[in-house]
Subunit: 316 residues, 2 copies
Amino acid sequence: MHDEFAKIGWLKARFELDGDSKKVVVGIGDDAAVIDFGNRPTIITVDTQVEGVHFRPDLISCRDLGYRAMVAAVSDIWAMAATPSASVVALTLDSDFPDEQFRELIEGLAEAARKTGAQVVGGNLSQGSSLSVTTTVFGLPIGKSVTRNGARPGDSVYVTGTLGSAALGLAILQTSESELAHAASFVERWRRPPTHGHVAKAMAALATAAVDVSDGCLQDLTHVCAASGVGATLHADAIPTAPGYETTCKVLDIDPIALALTGGEDYELIFTAPKCPEAAALGTKIGVVTEGSVVRVVDQAGEAIALDQTGFRHFS
Amino acid sequence: MHDEFAKIGWLKARFELDGDSKKVVVGIGDDAAVIDFGNRPTIITVDTQVEGVHFRPDLISCRDLGYRAMVAAVSDIWAMAATPSASVVALTLDSDFPDEQFRELIEGLAEAARKTGAQVVGGNLSQGSSLSVTTTVFGLPIGKSVTRNGARPGDSVYVTGTLGSAALGLAILQTSESELAHAASFVERWRRPPTHGHVAKAMAALATAAVDVSDGCLQDLTHVCAASGVGATLHADAIPTAPGYETTCKVLDIDPIALALTGGEDYELIFTAPKCPEAAALGTKIGVVTEGSVVRVVDQAGEAIALDQTGFRHFS
């Protein structure tokens, strides 16, 4: 069971054994849980960023780390078509963690909380040998919660923004190549994920399923398809990428399509919806939902493309 | 600022700057936050247990660790006189953490969730070099939320159960003394904190302030007094301890009163209330709330006792 998803499957089954299904509207296995505390559903999600696993402290400032941790957690609230409302933050810090860096970390969290609406209302400080930030975010549904299991054959697959930029930014930070045009914009894109409050609001009215891109587009879409009992076909030439993306990938000898489809941490939103102008206004149509269970990527000629990566997976 | 409480004070001020005070009924600095999501208050608290800081893996099984992490977090919900309703758990595990131990950890969390009512509805798995468990718990108020700031001069100070047993249990685990009578009961008391659902319900009707004993009775009561703008006098001879406690302390050359008042992780509840039989039925009266701001401990003759420890404090 050295696999995150196998563990989650087991956890889901284990905790459902004891559950009161009445109050759990959406349980383990979606972007966030939806709980009815007796009046109105509350959306809850939690995300942890660990030093050395999710970030290298030499590649990101404490301020950006705080900002990023908050937005990454809030991203799951948006992916449910909900509005972030509050958050609690649990920090683990080394005992000699510098005050100045602590303040910067908090400033980054506060900046993102302000920008997203996920006001920090509580938290916990613990000592520990490695820095980690665990952010629990609460949200309120705008309309119905958009889960992962509602995609239907014939729906279009949309993605917000561009794909691959965050992974490319991280690759740039880890390379010795200097003199890269556009480098700063990709690095910034990795350090500061985008916010999607307006998309979440619009999705509530039109999306059949949604997920945020944290592990990589293909892998996250595969979760949606598995939950919905459908397949999908993605068109490689429709994948939106940022200006300078292909050129920079070439300099670094990276396959641009593979990185866009499997690179993690984009924190864009993928959603499925019947094809319509309102959906097209939110993002780029990259494919269609199909019968079956296979998620495949095709080129302009309709030929299947094999990709050599399957995204970022812990415990793999 | 190498002090947990200084950091928390700064955090409180920092996050309140950006806050929407309308929705935050109780903010940073109490046992838990109380948020009004637009209908009914929800109580939220988060707690982290880190390997090597809060537990040594050689001293506690994974099952007990899970149980303990959940009850320690839920304890803050009870201390607000609320009912645990749901929880989310973020785990950080080494990549080669054994499956069998993972299952045991989850079984312990599930057992405590079942016992306390804090059904696990979501979570997060992360890789990390040291094991940590971050538990966010949600509760619903029973009547009014009992915060730390309502203690009034003349109130009595009550504590549930007994004090010092958990700290003694940990001391026993760390000593080379064998042949200790009662040893197993103290160790068990450290590994498996008590549950207080019934006390929380009763407190809602009569307590003026409450806190759970995590850092040590004196220190936690000092938080209540500071928040309430009062002092307190505790009677050393009134402190409730378990059978065999004094004898065992003597064998280990530990001051039993100092340990009972400053040893952490009891997870008993301290509350203040006008003296009444209903309060006395929930716990032992250990002192009174006074004017001023000093918290002192006196002996039978009314003489102040100096204690050489001030409880468990991270970052100290």
